[in-house]
Symmetry: C2
Subunit: 446 residues, 2 copies
């Protein structure tokens, strides 16, 4: 059943006060204003907080890191093209001097929707409104071997770990005598040909071509193989056919071994088994073949859908709740007949939902009718390598150099912070001219 | 007894060949040229390798990280002013395409000077000439409590750890209710008023003044104290009196609580006990009060001096050896009557020794007389904060803005890599204008 706007009501003030006394363990000062607790400093959460400025709410943002992360460039950190802090921006820096705003570095363990509070690793906190913007996480489709052995790239720590792992693998290979062993050591297998898999494969192919021969003249570049395995009949299946074809052509030209229509069945830490029972040997196996919502525990069953996403109406209000909202990757608007699976998990969706929700929270407070979310699709894009990207904007499908320029400027525009924009842009120019990947630093405890 | 150049002889070729077969476990190709094994990619090692270019040697550089680290700016990484990879430069990037040069990422465990090979964690390797440039490490003067509880800042990993620890401490403090507890949590104690201690104290004082009030409006800046404890009667005791006085004045003005003539006696993880039995409570205790040489194990007793440094003659040849050399912090030239304690542990000494040793190795190969090392003291300097530094060049002692500009350009000049220079310079301009410290990213495993 679709909830109507008239169902939305502010939770009973008097009742909340009782809860208040019990569950403010996060040292948030009392306020006469209703408290909006936001979980997650991703694109949705950050844009929601920004738009809540000068609106009559106390805002508490909870995040498990102290920075907002620009996920789309993570693969460049993993492949030594950018430094970690160039794509991370400290949350406190975004909202310095914001009135009645509080940030807490914490991990939410459970939502108690009956009593309107969240449980975190540093204590509990009640809310008047709760907004969940916890994004997505890897979906291993129940295979614990993937969870245990595959490398992921969802957190900054993982991206740096991947960089370290790759560099260490190259150094270790120098000590091997048998060329078969070397080949296995330098075999890279990426499961999943979505944007993450494609962009990572492209960056690794460039590393192989430009960095590898210079840094490791002792090893033949032919020893290194990059495999990209995709279950669907085409790469970037969320984009246009033209984009898919262009991507496939360029990746192949760059030496990436692409296999379509093939699922990865298992991985034991060394052996990758594909659905056709063929086998690849690799230590460096990256899982980018599936994501699921990252919904916190404790939400009522009726508020969840398949894939661990939160079922919301077109005001982003969770089904079965009056005051819990979800935005971005973790939310699935279940009231749009044209999009039975919800919106794509893209930054643009999260940004637009966060912005609209700020307006809607004020409307709800004012007993006005909130406005339904309507996604303005600005297009999608992926980069494959130097001078090569694919861009879909409506019916316009661009490939090659122009697409690549668009990709660059769109990414710079959405990257947070002037300093980060300048540093990333400079790094790109530098990498472009020198073919270098300057941050290939192996950072480890000694 | 001082060794003369005529004592220097090439180890017996025939004998080495036998050793060779036994101990090349690092996959270094055979070469007709004599093999120089260099341990350490610091200022000494890097400059030695550079100057060995086109000289008839096979060169193997062993280092425990894959990068050359610009130690003088480490305190800026620890205080979120610079990113880690801005002050690190991949070794392989420096020496790409160098002929008969091999880099191995390894930790040397022991030197076997009888049989001319080094033992490392990845295997053994024989040498014709060995050069030790392993730098210095913290000296806790036998107090294991310091070793266990004090924070250090000698490796990049430690500097990032210090940044994480500080940021986490601030977040944790928000949850405390008692203002005494908050004060303890925000108390910083630095043991040692040499360049590291002074520069760190200055950077932290600026953080307290400019970042703290913006990022943590919930906490009063008065809660945070920075203590600098020095055993000698003045700070920067290796510099001029004028530099010491200016430094003391500026640090005090910036709110740093400086205590001179006072040694730190003990630290149990919370309580800092000073020599006068007064006590400071701090979780954030940094040890920069002493360094010692980082000589590897296995060297003959006669080749070592107090402070774990290697005793060398003025050709940097180790006492009691024909083919082991030491350069930089770990070396102590014991043949200079004017410098009974050897040269100061400065980058300049290491650079000049590395450069000269390249020439001398060739001279030795050619049976020519090597040239004695003569230190060209280009001056010393330290920065205290924005617009404030102290510089001694011979009898010229500068303080304030001009000194600060000199400090900036000298550091940029010696920082390796065009990309790093540009990024550090941009960060400094950005930090200067905005008072920001943009890399305050808390990076941790999730």
């Amino acid at each position: 059943m679709i909830q109507s706007a008239t169902n939305i009501k502010r939770p009973d003030k008097e009742q909340l006060k009782v809860v208040n006394r019990k569950v403010n363990q996060l040292n948030i000062p009392d306020s006469p204003l209703p408290r909006v607790v936001i979980i997650g400093a991703g694109f949705g959460g950050i844009n929601l907080v920004k738009k809540l400025k000068n609106k009559p709410f106390q805002v508490v943002l909870i995040n498990k890191t102290n920075y907002h992360l620009f996920q789309p460039l993570m693969y460049q950190v993993a492949t030594a093209g950018l430094e970690a802090s160039s794509i991370a921006f400290p949350v406190r820096g975004i909202f310095a001097h914001k009135k009645d705003f509080y940030f807490r570095l914490a991990e939410v363990q459970e939502v108690n929707s009956e009593e309107n509070y969240v449980e975190t690793n540093i204590g509990n906190l009640n809310y008047d409104y709760l907004v969940i913007g916890t994004g997505s996480k890897a979906n291993y489709f129940g295979n614990d071997n993937f969870r245990t052995h595959a490398k992921g790239m969802k957190t900054l720590y993982q991206a740096i770990g991947l960089r370290n792992f790759g560099l260490k693998g190259l150094e270790d290979t120098l000590l091997l005598k048998d060329s078969k062993e070397k080949q296995v050591a330098l075999n890279i297998v990426i499961a999943g040909g979505g944007p993450t898999g494609v962009e990572l494969a492209g960056a690794l192919a460039e590393f192989k071509k430009k960095i590898f021969p210079k840094d490791y003249p002792e090893l033949s570049p032919d020893l290194m193989s990059i495999h990209l395995i995709e279950g669907a009949p085409r790469l970037l299946s969320a984009m246009s056919n033209k984009a898919s074809e262009s991507t496939l052509k360029h990746l192949k030209k760059m030496g990436v071994k692409v296999k379509l229509n093939t699922l990865v069945k298992d991985y034991d830490g060394t052996k990758v088994t594909l659905a056709d029972d063929s086998v690849l040997y690799s230590k460096y196996f990256i899982w980018s073949a599936g994501v699921q919502g990252n919904a916190p525990c404790g939400l009522p069953e009726e508020g969840l859908v398949r894939g661990n996403r939160i079922k919301v109406n077109d005001f982003n209000l969770m089904f079965g709740s009056d005051n819990i909202f979800a935005i971005g990757d973790v939310a699935q608007i279940a009231t749009d007949r044209d999009r039975p699976k919800g919106h794509p998990m893209l930054a643009q969706v999260a940004i637009q939902q966060g912005q609209l929700l700020a307006e809607n929270l004020q409307r709800i407070e004012n007993k006005q009718k909130p406005q339904a979310f309507k996604y303005w699709d600005k297009g999608s894009m992926a980069t494959i390598g130097k001078n090569k990207a694919v861009v879909d904007i409506g019916n316009i499908h661009l490939t090659g150099f122009v697409a690549w320029l668009i990709w660059i400027f769109v990414h710079l525009a959405f990257l947070m912070g002037f300093r980060n924009k300048v540093i990333v842009f400079f790094n790109w120019i530098y990498n472009y001219i020198t073919f270098d990947r300057a941050t290939r630093i192996l950072l480890k405890r000694q």
